[in-house]
Symmetry: C2
Subunit: 253 residues, 2 copies
């Protein structure tokens, strides 16, 4: 197996009480899931945890050993409840230090601005010792990388800009391709056919997702594989079977 | 401390490859977070994991020991990729059996329907041995409860109906109250005042959430506590301080 074909796996840790209290609807999981999938990095697991240093440390340390990359979102601002940076430093047993490159970025940004680079904002120039910075073209205060842990902002627009900065540097792996159809037949009536096709094409991941349209049950079927030939063969077989038992509703790409 | 004042903690496990591939935007986390918070049950942690038996078993077994309740969503339909029920049975070391009450519910539902209670649909009448059923007023196939693990559907409308069925039976605890204001001042300019207030009112959780409105930075401040008197005192002090350093933007309830 060549290096291009290896699976690269990642996890995401969403940090913030506001997600768990329901005050804020997370928008980062779905964005990162789509982006990582498109790049050829599997998002294998997501955790949403509270702004609690022990919880951040234990989640980071548990996941960074198991996955190629761990992304975190949230908790890197200037206020007392932003404790992600200190927690990452603690997880790696590194000092939490003023990063001179980050300080320079903030000095340049606030120089001539009506806002001052005060002590609170200077917190955003602190990172674990030896961290690499992640560019933030929007509000400047950078994210950072320590080993395989990539620390991003929680505000969706800033998180996206940071992710775009870091994406070209990521090692990518086997890209998963997918083909989908939707049929106006309930899952219960196609389940046994699906099971047969899944058993035959065991390297293809076949997902079955029920929906309701105009009061009728339908099912979206998604086939996923890194091998285009096998994917198309399995898809052809699925189409033929669906033709026999269902009104074909929509073929998606 | 009386029993009413105890904190009741819970975790949520979102099961499904479609969430992690980005195909589906999860809608259950935010709904459950709001409902649980309103009931007086803290949502302490959320995990999104793949349709993988070992991962489901290990997540369930890790979380059910640490929290009063564990909710799961997804993976209880009739198709081959619905493996939540078998996984829960395995996590508890219980047999995976035909539940006669669930079978009766499905027989009544499909009797006279154009759909048949075939082998695939009968899978939805299987549960871990000794499970209690959770009523599903929408599509009938029930959720279930084993000890402190509550297994719900993934389709948001069905999940919500199941949660409403089970909510009145849940043990609830200390209810968290909140008060919020939004100010048109960046976090960096109010951070030191917030730190002082947080240190003084250490039983109040003060969250600070930046936003951008019409190109200007603002901050939403959320104070949360189970003690209404302390919450109001901390809030008064926050208001007085914000009056001095910021244009008050909006007071929310």
């Amino acid at each position: 197996m060549s290096e291009e074909q290896a699976i690269v796996r990642s996890a995401l840790i969403i940090i913030g009480n506001e997600i768990l209290s329901g005050r804020t609807q997370d928008a980062n999981l779905n964005y990162l899931a789509k982006q990582l999938t498109a790049l050829g990095i599997q998002l294998s697991e997501v955790r949403a945890i509270r702004d609690d240093m022990e919880e951040i440390v234990s989640s980071v340390n548990s996941l960074r050993k198991r996955y190629d990359y761990v992304f975190t979102t949230g908790g890197i601002g200037p206020t007392h409840d932003d404790i992600t940076c200190e927690s990452i430093a603690k997880a790696f047993g590194r000092k939490y230090v003023l990063n001179l490159k980050a300080k320079k970025i903030l000095e340049d940004y606030y120089d001539g601005s009506s806002n001052k680079l005060n002590e609170a904002r200077l917190r955003m120039a602190h990172t674990p010792e030896g961290a690499l910075l992640v560019d933030n073209p929007i509000s400047k205060a950078p994210g950072f990388i320590v080993e395989n842990v990539i620390v991003l902002a929680g505000i969706p627009a800033v998180m996206r800009a940071m992710f775009e900065s870091v994406a070209p540097t990521l090692r990518t792996g086997r890209r998963i391709l997918s083909k989908s159809i939707s049929v106006m037949t309930g899952e219960g009536d196609i389940a046994s056919v699906l099971t047969d096709i899944q058993l035959k094409w065991d390297s293809v991941e076949i997902g079955s997702y029920p929906f309701v349209k105009d009061g009728n049950y339908g099912t979206s079927l998604v086939l996923r594989s890194s091998n285009i030939k096998i994917l198309e063969l399995a898809y052809e077989e699925l189409l033929q079977n669906m033709d026999q038992i269902s009104v074909l509703y929509e073929v998606e790409d």
